[in-house]
Amino acid sequence: MKKISKSSLFFLPAFLWVFLFILFPMIWSLYISFFKYNPAIYGPKMTFNWGLNYYYILTDKRFWESMLHQLYYTGVGVAVEVTLGVLVALAIYNYIRSEWLKMVCLIIVTLPIMAAPIIVGTIWRLLFNPGSGVLSALSVMLGFGAIDWFDRAHAMNSLIIADIWEWTGIIALIIYAARIAIPARIYELAKTDGIPDRIVFRRITLPLLAEPIGMATLIRMMDSYKFFDLLFIMTRGGPGTATELPTFYTFILAFEQSDFGKAAALSWILGLIAMFIMQYIWGYFRKLRRFEVRL
């Protein structure tokens, strides 16, 4: 027992820090979620309200709408990102011969994922800017007339486009790493058998990439659930609540309406959903350590 506690000194500081400033606050927030707590209106008084916060949220139309937005946003965004990312990775791997050029391409593809989301949002807000934005100008030039990229019909898609720009690169990177890991001799065997490229892709490459693709998809889905910064700077959930996602709604409840009890309840609902999804990611999660991009 004494031996264990001595070596535990190694991880205890890290553990305690995370416990004190993440885990403990989260438990505290669970506590708050059972109280009526709105310091801006009612002052610092907390009143126990028997889980009414949860009831309010689950019967709140705005919450369910935000969940629908999330589904649309994640569904469309991740689907496009994964398809595009896989294509880009395989195009770079198969169709560029020079190792040096491969490296340059991969670095460019990776560039957006290194930028702060808030910067990406700034740039895309500028590009989508009604009137003076490049994309508005483009749509006028192409004869579609002036499109307002931030109106009710387009705002969500504009967000998704910016998201695709930022995150396709990571899918490409993961798939590229996975493709490198497939031994060349399998393809050489296929060559001696005279198997056409089409069949090689369908029966060998794609099945072998299925796992990393699934993994990348899950990670992206989890990430899109955390999505906040882009939304904040580009549309702030607007117009109206047309682009509002659950995380942003939580933010508004807490920091604009000062309704911390309800916000805490909503954040716990989101947390439970996250835990549910995480169960699926768990298995895949450990596997990713196998991959490393050799640029």
């Binding site: 264990i4 070596s7 535990s8 190694f10 991880f11 500081p13 890290a14 553990f15 820090w17 004190l20 400033f21 993440i22 989260m26 505290w28 927030s29 708050i32 294509l87 880009v88 195009a91 169709y95 670095i107 990776t110 560039l111 290194m114 930028a115 702060a116 989301p117 808030i118 700034t122 740039i123 500028l126 590009l127 009137g131 003076s132 100008a137 006028v140 720009w165 690169g169 990177l173 993961i174 990670i219 906040f228 904040f232 700077i233 939580t250 933010f251 807490a254 920091f255 911390f260 916000a263 805490a264 954040s267 716990w268 989101l270 996250a274 995480m278 768990w282 350590r289 490393e292 991009v293």
Partner: protein, 266 residues
């Protein structure tokens, strides 16, 4: 066959352009005056390139200070997070005990940050440390420890136990072995961990927005505030963006091999 190759190349070139264009546009805008930015139709090239916006980004009361704040907070939190992460990473790599805690640590990084942003805000308010560097550093360390542990454990795993044992037999005590043998061996990994942890702190927005106001604000907090003023200073915003983007690009170039590992725990 060659036609197919050509088509793929063109498609790839279009993709590369699509990635690079927004960055070009940001640079383009950052060299313009504000009326040029808002011109209709847009100007594809700055008519009279100016560095005024960069001077604002680097030296103005608000933007310049925000960059300085970002630097302080990122560097301070990285130092602590990597140190604690290295200790814990070494433990998990060598002793292979409490694996549950290891995975649990990683889990915290997968929740939407708003979930702990709210209670942390309330807690720091109660403690009276809102809007200080300390508040941000504490929060960033907490958020970044799992990343640092994950990365460091991976690097420690690559050093065979027998190398450390050889050092014991050469006459070093256990702590000296880590300091004089293991750490120098994984120095590149430590550098990568520092860089990647740093960039996360540097890029973080939500906690910074929630926990700071007029004193400890970082550059991501400043960016959107330039939007809400009566005039939208895109030229300034893009200039600040480009300046803030530079460390990311440098780190990407230097540590490109480590990016995939890092991304898993975004």
């Amino acid at each position: 066959m060659e036609l197919k190759r050509l088509i793929v190349w063109i498609a790839l070139a279009i993709y590369i352009l699509w990635v690079l264009f927004p960055i070009y546009w940001a640079i383009n805008s950052s060299l313009k005056y504000v009326w040029e930015v808002n011109a209709i139709p847009p100007l594809w090239w700055p008519p009279k390139p100016t560095l005024k916006n960069y001077i604002w980004a680097l030296f103005s009361e608000r933007a310049g200070k925000s960059l300085l704040n970002s630097l302080i907070v990122s560097t301070g939190s990285t130092a602590i997070a990597v140190f604690l992460g290295a200790l814990a990473g070494y433990y998990f790599s060598r002793y292979r005990m409490h694996e549950g805690i290891f995975w649990w640590l990683l889990t915290t990084r997968m929740f939407p940050p708003i979930i702990f942003a709210i209670p942390i805000f309330l807690m720091f308010k109660y403690m009276g440390i809102l809007d200080t560097h300390l508040a941000l550093i504490i929060a960033y360390v907490a958020v970044n420890i799992p990343l640092a542990v994950w990365l460091m454990r991976g690097y420690f795993d690559e050093v065979p136990v027998e190398v450390e044992e050889a050092a014991r037999l050469d006459g070093l005590t256990p702590f000296k072995v880590i300091w004089k043998i293991t750490m120098p061996i994984i120095a590149p990994g430590v550098a990568a961990t520092i860089a990647l942890t740093w960039i996360f702190a540097w890029n973080e927005f939500l906690l910074a927005y929630v926990l700071t106001r007029n004193v400890a604000f970082t550059y991501p907090v400043v960016l959107p505030t330039e939007v809400v003023s009566s005039q939208v200073f895109y030229n300034r915003m893009t200039a600040l963006s480009i300046v803030a983007l530079l460390p990311s690009i440098i780190i990407l170039l230097v540590f490109r091999k480590h990016i995939v590992r890092m991304y898993v725990l975004r």
